[in-house]
Symmetry: C2
Subunit: 307 residues, 2 copies
C-alpha cells in the first residue's frame, strides 16, 4: 500500500545537555517518511524546501527509497527551527522559528500520489490539511497530527477536519486543551465525539494510549537509559505506526479480523522507531538502523511489558 | 503463608476537589493489611493507636480477618494526618501531622508473629524497620517502603537496611534522590547496588517499574476516568503485591520456576488494588470490594495492555 505524507522539511539547530547540532536535517515529513520506509517501500513525500537545501539530505531521503516528486524547491531559504532542551526532555525552548519558504507552502498533490491509500497529515494548518484531503481519491486510512497553536487559533477548522480522520494523534496537554478536560479519559471521550475513529495520545516517556470506540490500549514507553535528542520522536512514532499498518494491509488483503491487534502492534512499532530517533541528533541513528534492529527492540518491548 | 506488616494507623482528615473527610481511618499498616487480606487470610498487624481510636475501625480490621494482637493502644491520641489534594493528585499539601502516640512507637513483635514468612516494613524510621527485622525468625521475603524524609535524614541507616530487603518500593522522585541520578534507569541500577534484590518504582498514574538483576518490567497504570482520593494508594499497592506473592507460595510449595511471572502478576494485582483505594475516601471502597471485583479488574488490565 502506498503512503503519502504532507508536512515540513526543516534544517534544525538543536542544543541538548549533551551537545549541539547546527542546520541538520529535520521536519515532520522527514522523520515520518524515513521511519515509514522501514515497513513499506512506497512512501510519497510532499513538502517544500528552499534553494539552499543540501544535496546530501536529498540523497539520504532517496537512499531510503522515498519518492520526492512531491518535494518542491521554492525560491529562498529552507524552513529553520532552533531549540534547546534541558534535562527535562519533554519540552524544548524554541529559540527561533524561521518559516522561510514554508510560509508559501500550498501543497499540490502530484497526480501519481492521489491514489495513495495511507495518508499522514503532519502538523500543519488544518485548512491546508483539509485541502490535501480534498485532492486525494479515496484513502483507506487518514492519520493526522496537530499542535497547541492550531487548537488555539484554528479550532473550528481542526474540529471539522477530524470527521474525516481515522487516527488522530496528539499529546497529553493538547488532548486536555482541545477537550477542556483535566481527566485524560474524559478528554479522549470528548474528542472521539468530534468524529475521528481513533485517538492516540502520546505521553512521551510515559508511553501512549489508544482510544477507539469502547476499547482502550495503554502501553508504557520503551525503557531508555538516556535520551540524546527527542526532536522528531512524535513523527517517527507516526511513521512506524502508519508504515506498519500499510504493510499489514499489503500482506493481507483479506481478513481484518485482527484489526485491533494490528493497531496495537503498530503503536508498539511506532514507539520502537521513536526510541531510535532520540538516540542521536537529527536522523543520524534512525537512518542507519536495520530491520533486524527494529525486530529485536520490538521483542524486547514485549518482554518488558507482558505479564 | 503468614504476613506481618509494621506501620502506622492514622486518623486522616483529607480534602480533595470532590469533598472532605474528617478523622477517617488511614495509615500505611491499615491500607496494606486490608489490601493483603483479599489474597492471604493470615495477616498480622503491628502498630500503635491512641485511646481515642474508634471501635468501629477495630471492627473493620477484624472483619477482614486481620490479627490485631500486635496493635498496641497507647495513652493519648491516635496519629493524625491532615492534607489537601488539588487537581494534580500526585502531591498532597500536608496541613498538619500530629504524631501523638506514634512518637513513642517502638514495635515489639508478638512471639506468635516472629515466624511470619512475608514481612512488609511500611514507611517508618529505617532504624525501627531494622529493629523489627532483628526480631523476626527467618522471613522468606522482606518488602520495604520509605519516603524522602528518611532518604534525607537517615540515609546511612536506610542504605544499610537495604541489604536485607528483597523488594524495595519507592516512588520516582525518591529513587532519583536516593541515587543522585536524573535518569530513572541509572537510578535503579545504582540502588540495586545498595543490596536490595529487587526495586519497584511507583510512578502513580504512569504505572510502575520492576528492576531485578538484568530483568525489567514496565507497566502502565490502570486507566481511570477520575481519582477521588489517592491517599493510601502506595500501601494498598504493596498489600496486593505481597498478598499475592504470599498466596502463590501457599498454593505452590514446590516449583518457583515462574517466580518472575508471579512477580509481574503481583505488581498488576497491586496496581489493581490501588485503583479501588483511590475511588473513595479512606477504605470505604477498598474494604467493600469482593474477590470477583479484583479478578474482573485484573482481566481488564490485561486487555488494556497486551498486544
Amino acid at each position: 500500500m502506498s503512503i503519502l505524507v504532507v508536512g515540513s522539511i526543516a534544517l534544525d539547530t538543536v542544543k541538548t545537555p549533551f551537545g549541539m547540532a547546527k542546520d541538520v536535517l529535520g521536519g515532520s515529513a522527514t522523520y515520518f517518511s524515513v521511519s515509514a520506509s522501514f515497513f513499506e517501500p512506497d512512501v510519497n513525500l510532499v513538502a517544500i524546501v528552499g534553494d539552499d537545501f543540501p544535496a546530501k539530505y536529498v540523497n539520504l531521503l532517496e537512499g531510503k527509497g522515498i519518492d520526492l516528486k512531491g518535494m518542491v524547491t521554492g525560491k529562498g531559504k529552507t524552513f529553520r527551527w532552533e531549540g534547546e532542551y534541558g534535562w527535562d526532555f519533554s519540552n524544548p525552548r524554541t529559540i527561533a522559528t524561521r518559516l522561510n519558504v514554508l510560509s508559501r507552502f500550498n501543497p499540490a498533490i502530484p497526480r501519481e500520489y492521489r491514489n495513495s491509500e495511507y495518508v499522514f497529515l503532519a502538523n500543519i494548518d488544518p485548512q491546508i490539511q483539509k485541502q490535501v484531503l480534498n485532492q486525494m481519491a479515496r484513502p483507506k486510512l487518514v492519520a493526522c497530527d496537530t499542535m497547541n497553536y492550531w487548537i488555539e487559533n484554528k479550532r473550528k477548522d481542526l474540529v471539522k477536519l477530524l470527521k474525516k480522520v481515522d487516527i488522530f494523534l496528539l499529546n497529553e496537554a493538547e488532548a486536555k486543551e482541545l477537550a477542556g478536560e483535566s481527566s485524560l479519559v474524559k478528554a479522549a471521550k470528548a474528542i472521539l465525539k468530534f468524529g475521528p475513529k481513533r485517538i492516540i495520545i502520546k505521553k512521551g516517556e510515559h508511553g501512549s494510549l489508544l482510544f477507539s470506540g469502547n476499547s482502550v490500549f495503554s502501553t508504557p514507553a520503551y525503557l531508555m537509559e538516556s535520551i540524546f535528542d527527542p526532536t522528531g520522536a512524535g513523527d517517527t512514532f507516526a511513521g512506524g505506526l502508519v508504515g506498519y499498518l500499510a504493510a499489514c494491509k499489503t500482506q493481507n488483503q483479506a481478513g481484518l479480523a485482527d484489526r485491533q491487534a494490528n493497531l496495537r502492534k503498530a503503536i508498539v512499532y511506532g514507539s520502537v522507531m521513536a526510541t531510535f530517533a532520540v538516540e542521536d541528533f537529527s536522523l543520524r541513528r534512525l537512518a542507519s538502523i536495520t530491520r533486524a534492529d527494529i525486530v529485536r527492540r520490538f521483542k524486547q518491548f514485549r518482554k518488558l511489558t507482558h505479564f
